[in-house]
Subunit: 262 residues, 2 copies
């Protein structure tokens, strides 16, 4: 099943995506809903951000080849994390598919994409085991963890390195029934494949992250966990580019890039 959130001339609703059409829901997949008889052409609707999370978690470093590539690029010697210590991003930065990534005029850059798998929580959960962890997941979507590598090096926190307005595209849909540890995520820049990786290479699995988080924290419907990215994240993003994060069962998260004042 593939869920999305849609805007039809200002009216906002959740829907079930079936091929090129959307069956309108009365209610939301995060709560209770009724499937209506209203069917729309997908192309006639604006696809919105699929949810606004109450808590926005991210794995940060969760793939070895991405860490090694970062070390080679920066001459650093960052070790792979020893534990699944979760990080945070902030809602101000979220945009949906089709919306524009804006690079601030004073961004030192380089600005790079990070294509990520995102677990979307559907049920309140606490103290789950790894065996039960996926029981609280509604489904999976895609995220682009847009990052300014200059600010990432110069700032004490990741605030503007990761959380400038528009720097967290997420979507397009939430797909249920996937195995989060057996997916292929790819990235296109201007229509050409720039990166591809498989989620079986996660250092800490989706199950492990969820079990760890729920040892201390309640997961709530709509919370999201961004699960990290692998490999190099090149080419750098620049004014006029279009960046797509792609997974065949979830869809294409497509965002144009502009530089403010360019």
């Amino acid at each position: 099943m593939k869920y999305g959130r849609f805007d039809q001339q200002g009216r906002i609703f959740y829907g079930r995506v079936e091929g090129d059409s959307v069956v309108e829901l009365d209610g939301s997949p995060f709560d209770t809903f009724r499937v209506t008889t209203k069917r729309h052409a997908l192309a006639s609707l604006k696809t919105l951000l699929p949810c606004v999370p109450g808590n926005f978690y991210c794995a940060g470093l969760n793939y070895l080849a991405h860490i090694e590539w970062g070390n080679a690029r920066k001459g650093t010697n960052k070790k792979p994390p020893e534990k699944a210590d979760v990080g945070y991003r902030s809602n101000n930065a979220l945009i949906g598919t089709g919306e524009t990534i804006v690079i601030p005029a004073d961004s030192p850059g380089p600005v790079q994409y990070e294509g990520e798998l995102v677990a979307v929580i559907g049920k309140k959960a606490r103290n789950l085991t790894e065996a039960d962890a996926l029981s609280c997941v509604l489904g999976y979507t895609l995220g682009n963890d847009v990052s300014d590598r200059g600010w990432q090096a110069s700032d004490r926190t990741l605030w503007r390195a990761k959380n400038c307005d528009t720097w967290k595209p997420m979507g397009p849909f939430i797909t249920t029934g996937l195995d989060p540890m057996n997916l292929t995520v790819s990235v296109n820049v201007n229509g050409e494949q720039a990166a591809e990786y498989t989620t079986d290479k996660m250092l800490f699995s989706a199950q492990h992250y969820i079990a760890e988080i729920t040892s201390y924290m309640t997961l709530w419907p709509g919370d999201v966990i961004w699960l990290g990215t692998d490999n190099a994240t090149l080419p750098d993003l620049k004014h006029g580019d279009v960046c797509e994060i792609v997974q065949k069962d979830i869809g294409v998260l497509r965002n144009p890039v502009v530089r403010a004042g360019a």
Copy 2:
């Protein structure tokens, strides 16, 4: 003016606190509202968390004496931050006044309070100057940035050092018209004053934080910025304690402490 959010036998509303009574509002101070003629005894209502933020910002280290005390305690040599790089906390951890701070059974400790002034945003804002920064603030409340110093030292991020469920008490009320740089915040543990500081010692002012944030990020109504704490944060919190954060115009944020399984 002092605003609060209240529960009267399951009915939730915003109100204006006037001495020992609450005048019910129809609507919210974050949007539009009408002052009703309904008046309640404050003691007859449950005071709730004053807002659920869309974005939860914190200054982290923002007072010199607290940094120096931390260095002396831990034998570290942490420098004061050179810039107002903002950090994040997470909504799962928020509780209102009167609710219980729960220390997980496996918390290595010590667990300590941090009494903080909190700026509560009332209006959407972007690109404010320091001179205009406070124009987006609805008012100020109090926060207790409960922290496990063991996890703070051992973990890559502050996830469970700062964000365990119940570890972010906030409230009781939001008071308008205060000068955030000229307030006295104090902390009582079991009825005895444990700490006191004045907000004029902030390394970076509320105005500066807001101006910096809005250079890159939109502030939204209900967003909060926790502005840091000064001095030592002793005694350590333990099972059976009651911790109060106090500011005379805002009120008393009072939370009992228990240890899970104790």
